[in-house]
């Protein structure tokens, strides 16, 4: 493409023209350099053919036309008048196309003129192709004769005419032979020629094709596998009854269609011919159709119009309801509306009835009053009652009290009582009723005492989650071995929960039983400042009910627990036989780990392991360093005579079994004891192994064997513990 690279203007070209740049339009020729937005010549070429497939863009003719246009613009841009003149003299470049100039000779025969007149309004039409074709069968089954059909038809008609009556007489014979031949499985040429029109022929062929499609759609596959060709009897049904409107695309039987008595011979006459043609096509429809068979990979380029998969649609809740659901709901709603309407009607009818009755009563009373007026001696005092409307009163009461739903309930139940009662003054009656209501209300209130009124009180405690239910309480034994702090309430519970993390780590979550009460040391009672602070704290914690484990130590959950001693011989004897020693070893990880000693040496420490002789003392002889743990841990002999593995976590598991309260001889659990925690905190990981034995062996009571065998995880949990300590350390400190 010839183009001036515009050397000096490149700097100016850096300023891009953006979509929003306002540009002045100059309609005169100016002498200015064109901006070459893409200095790269190659890029410019691409721009000129943007949108054309890269492969086609290089085509000779297209390039010729484009370059001609480019030179034209160039010349215009340069505004050299001479160029335009020269331009016109050039032979115009164009893209050649194949011949399209053929003219059809018999056009007027095929497309008769004078059939179309412009309607006044724009055409609106939604008829499909089938519906626009005369006597087309539904489903697009339209048969058009070709030359070969025409030949056959002509011959057939000639024969039929030539033989005339004999053809009619032979029909019965032909059916018989057809039947007998069917038994043989062959269809010999038995049909007799019958005169038929082209339309009739096409109709019969179309019906054949349609029935074949419906009954044996995969005829071609069947024939490939040597299947039989459907005999004429398969089609007899279609022709032996009158053709129904639903067979036709327009739902209307064309007037020229012969009735079944004439159609059946036609079909019989055509069948053999149709069969022959269909067989020639290998069982496919005679008129070729577009290949929609997606499995036909051999002719892939001819397959077209595949069905698109359904587009994924963003799901919304409204869309998720299926149509049937929506319709059901709609039906239900409508039915209810109907029901209400009919109820209203009933009510109004009843009202009218009562009005009529009331009228009658009124008339009677009127008559009575008249009578009494005329003969005052006749009446007794009681008759006066008859003039009153008894029902009024309970009704009134009802309306009075119907303001509150609860009351209404009882007002309804009172009604029979009212009717029993002797007549009394409405006011008194009202009072009684009111009293009754009041007492009912009080009673109700008493009854509801333990119940939350969800109607008036919208607050409902959130259900405790499963995980929070797993907190278990460990009875504190601190009071026993820290008698020096009498201030702490004897009933202090701690909740804890074991949880298994990734990689078999065990986490211990602790909860103080009551965060508020822990902050109430009595000795600072006098200090107003402290008091104030505590009050504030309490205020702050006031609604933090959920901070406390859901299940209180004194809660229901804890009450009916069954105690099971894991070390009951009953259990032990069963359990000890489950795994052999070697299996225990297999289950255990290599627990040894390296500890950097204070003097810099790295020491390999093997924690105590069941069944492995260890140079360290059994747990029993280790003196616990916990200041609180004054009693030595019990040396509980295990079946093989070794102290059970000591696990650091002395918390009940989320097992349904309640942890057994520590026996009095057993020292406090290390974790539950305050002092222990604090003693651990300063000493970090190196001290862990030395602490291990000190962690109480008690916990085995509730521990399942699986955990017990994993000392590594227990170490983890210990470290976990230490991590959590500082955050919770405040509480115990405050206690001190």
């Amino acid at each position: 493409m010839p183009r001036n690279p515009a050397g000096p203007s490149t700097l100016r070209n850096r300023n891009r023209v953006t979509n929003k740049t306002r540009l002045k339009v100059i309609k005169e020729s100016i002498d200015a350099d064109p901006i070459v937005l893409d200095e790269d010549e190659e890029k410019a070429r691409v721009v000129s053919t943007a949108g054309v497939d890269a492969e086609d863009a290089n085509e000779h003719h297209l390039q010729a036309v484009l370059s001609a246009a480019a030179t034209r613009h160039q010349s215009i841009a340069r505004s050299t008048r001479a160029a335009t003149d020269k331009d016109s003299s050039q032979p115009a470049a164009f893209i050649p196309t194949p011949d399209s100039t053929g003219i059809v000779q018999n056009y007027e025969d095929l497309y008769p003129p004078k059939r179309w007149h412009d309607p006044t309004n724009y055409v609106k039409s939604s008829d499909t192709l089938e519906e626009c074709t005369s006597s087309a069968l539904v489903g697009g089954f339209i048969y058009y004769m070709d030359e070969r059909d025409k030949d056959w038809l002509d011959r057939n008609n000639e024969e039929a005419r030539g033989e005339g009556t004999s053809a009619q007489g032979a029909i019965s014979g032909s059916t018989r032979s057809a039947r007998s031949s069917k038994a043989k499985g062959k269809e010999p040429e038995v049909s007799q020629p019958v005169v038929m029109t082209e339309d009739e022929f096409e109709l019969v062929m179309a019906v054949f094709e349609k029935v074949t499609h419906e009954k044996t759609e995969f005829l071609h596959h069947g024939l490939e596998q040597g299947g039989p060709f459907p005999p004429f009897t398969d089609y007899q049904d279609a022709f032996s009854t009158k053709l129904q409107p639903d067979l036709f695309a327009l739902y209307e039987v064309p007037s020229w269609v012969p009735d079944e008595s004439k159609l059946l011979p036609l079909a019989r006459a055509v069948y053999a011919y149709w069969r022959e043609r269909r067989l020639e096509r290998g069982g496919h429809p005679i008129i070729p159709a577009v290949n929609l068979d997606e499995t036909d990979t051999k002719n892939e380029s001819y397959i077209c119009f595949r069905r698109r998969e359904i587009k994924a649609v963003r799901k919304t809740r409204a869309q998720q309801a299926t149509y049937s659901d929506r319709l059901l709901r709609l039906k239900h709603d409508l039915e209810r509306a109907l029901l209400i309407a009919s109820d209203v009607k009933d009510r109004e009818l009843t009202k009218r009835e009562s009005a009529v009755v009331g009228q009658v009563v009124w008339d009677k009373r009127f008559a009575l009053v008249d009578l009494k007026r005329r003969y005052p001696t006749l009446g007794t005092k009681e008759d006066e009652e008859l003039l009153h409307d008894k029902e009024r009163i309970p009704k009134k009461a009802k309306t009075d009290t119907s303001g509150r739903p609860i009351v209404r309930l009882h007002a309804g139940s009172r009604e029979p009582a009212v009717s029993q009662e002797p007549i009394m003054h409405p006011k008194a009656k009202l009072e009684i009723i009111q009293k009754q209501i009041e007492s009912e209300m009080v009673q109700r209130k008493e009854k509801d005492h333990h119940w939350e009124d969800a109607v008036d009180n919208a607050y409902q405690a959130t259900p405790t989650s499963y995980s929070s239910r797993l907190f278990k309480f460990i009875q504190s034994t601190r009071s026993t071995h820290t008698p020096d702090s009498p201030s702490s309430p004897p009933q202090r519970h701690r909740a804890a929960r074991l949880r298994f993390g990734r990689g078999g780590r065990i986490h211990l979550d602790r909860r103080l039983c009551d965060p508020r009460s822990s902050r109430s040391p009595s000795e600072s009672d006098s200090d107003t400042e402290v008091l104030e602070k505590r009050r504030r704290l309490q205020e702050r914690w006031k609604f933090d009910e959920d901070d406390v484990p859901a299940i209180r130590p004194e809660g229901l959950e804890e009450q009916d627990r069954k105690l099971a001693d894991d070390f009951d011989p009953k259990y032990l004897s069963h359990r000890m036989s489950l795994l052999s020693d070697s299996e225990y070893n297999m289950l255990m990880t290599d627990t040894s780990f390296y500890v950097t000693l204070p003097d810099g040496r790295v020491d390999k420490v093997t924690p105590y392991r069941l069944g492995v002789i260890n140079n360290r003392n059994p747990a029993g002889s280790v003196t616990p360093r916990t200041p609180g743990g004054s009693q030595p841990p019990p040396s509980r002999p295990t079946p093989n005579g070794v102290t059970p593995v000591v696990n650091g976590t002395a918390i009940s598991l989320p097992t349904p079994l309640k942890s057994m309260p520590p026996p009095p001889t057993v020292p406090s659990l290390r974790i539950s004891a305050n002092g222990t925690m604090r003693s651990i905190t300063p000493s970090l990981s190196p001290t862990v192994p030395s602490h291990r034995p000190s962690s109480s062996p008690v916990r085995d009571q509730t521990h399942s064997t699986g955990i017990q065998d994993d000392p590594g995880s227990s170490v983890k949990s210990e470290q976990e513990l230490k991590m959590t300590v500082p955050s919770q350390a405040n509480g115990p400190d405050a206690v001190k």
């Binding site: 540009l23 339009v25 309609k27 100016i30 055409v123 096409e202 096509r281 587009k311």
Partner: protein
Amino acid sequence: MAPHTPKDEGQQEPAPVSRGGTYHLQTISVGCKVFARRPGPDGQEEERLAEVLSIRDRPTNPYVSRLRNEAKPDDPQRPEDRLEFFVHWDQFNKRLDDWIPGSRILLNRDMEWPRPKAPPSTKKATQKAPGKLNKSKSLLKKAATANALNAIKADVGSPGPSSLFDDRVSATPPPSLKRKAPDDEAEDDEDLDADADGDMDIDDEEGEVLDLDGGRSPAPPPPVSAFSKEQEIEKLRTSGSMTQSISEIARVKNLNRLQIGKHEVDAWYFSPYPQEYAHLPVLYICEFCLSYFGSPFMLSRHRKRCNLLHPPGNEIYRHEDLSFFELDGKRQLTWCRNLSMLSKCFLDHKTLYYDVTPFMYYVMCQRDSTGCHIIGYFSKEKESADNYNVACILTLPQHQRHGYGKLLIEFSYELSKKEGKLGSPEKPLSDLGLLGYRAYWAQTIIELLLNTNDDVSIDDIAQRTSITHADVMNTCTTLQLFKHYKGQHVISLPESLQERHKKTLEKRRRKIHPECLQWKPPTFTRDQLRFGW
């Protein structure tokens, strides 16, 4: 497949070449490149490189024998004409691909064999690692070479390579064709079908990758810039009607001539009309319902029963004798399928892989007392993810060069204006499409600029014409409207340009009158857009 640019050739190893005179017609196999005479536009013949895409015996179609052969029984022509070659002219559009008789092939010039593996008998020299080659090409060539090998193994003197395909023949020829045909003729038909299949099979087996760059880079890494068939289909699944991958399309034109209403035109490209109709001398198409028939008698029978006089949709525009009809592809399934197949004959990149339901069709018709004759149409996605306002656009070839194409384009933008959207035609454009659109864009933009006195931005132009920003920018660049003048960017419309514009305006006979458009943009619910059922 692709027109090989000389540059391309230079960078790869040269293809094996048979010197002129050392080969004869029977040696030529699919994939070879030979020189052949081609009649030029001005009468004289040029010798042009052509790639052989298919070979067949001279067609002695039953219909030809029925209709014309009686007239000219001077059958055995020159022996070299017994073979016909389907050739793609180098650097020409595929629509000019043609069947040429063997006599037009210049045997005295060099023949280029397909590159990857040369048939050993002719040349063993250049064997290249197939992996390094453009894959699709290599595949095609591989198959072609296989053919060539077979051809050489087979008796060279035998009638032709058609015998190779006999074992692959599966399709029965249409009985209507077979009737009067002698056996050997029927076989010919089968060969042709099988031939086309053969090409597709090659593509199928492993040729999903097509390098779009056409080997522009020296050592084309096949998969990177490739547009695999799966990707293609996946893209088409949700939208679009154009294929980027030409490998998907059968390369041998399967139709010769189409009779549409009053006109008879040559087909340009392959179209998936039923296989039985392939290579008929003429396919007969009803002008109104676009149904297709193999024989004139069927057409005449059809015409007696067809009651359609206009496209089966709603007229949304009428001015003078032109009308536009709007059709829903879902409602008018058969009609729109017919239209698609017809237009595929003239559109290279159109794909009929998926069904027509997600498209609306806008058909331009000329009305006279016979009915509404279709002139052209464009289809449009009911919902386009890429903001295309046209999917396929076509003026039937018999009506081309009358300005109807521009009218169609104008109408499509008129619809976009009504919708209040910017739009652009779906890519890739054909060469003719590009020219048409460029002309329309240029004209519209210049017209707008001449009628404005204020400063405009590209955004203004886009909003007022519904042409997308990119297209506006592109057009202005090609017209070289942007100038740097007195320290600022301006749009310059020199007088010569205005003159030219005036001339084209005079030449233009028709334009769309927006006031005649009675149209509301069709709306579809989500469920309807989920392609139906």
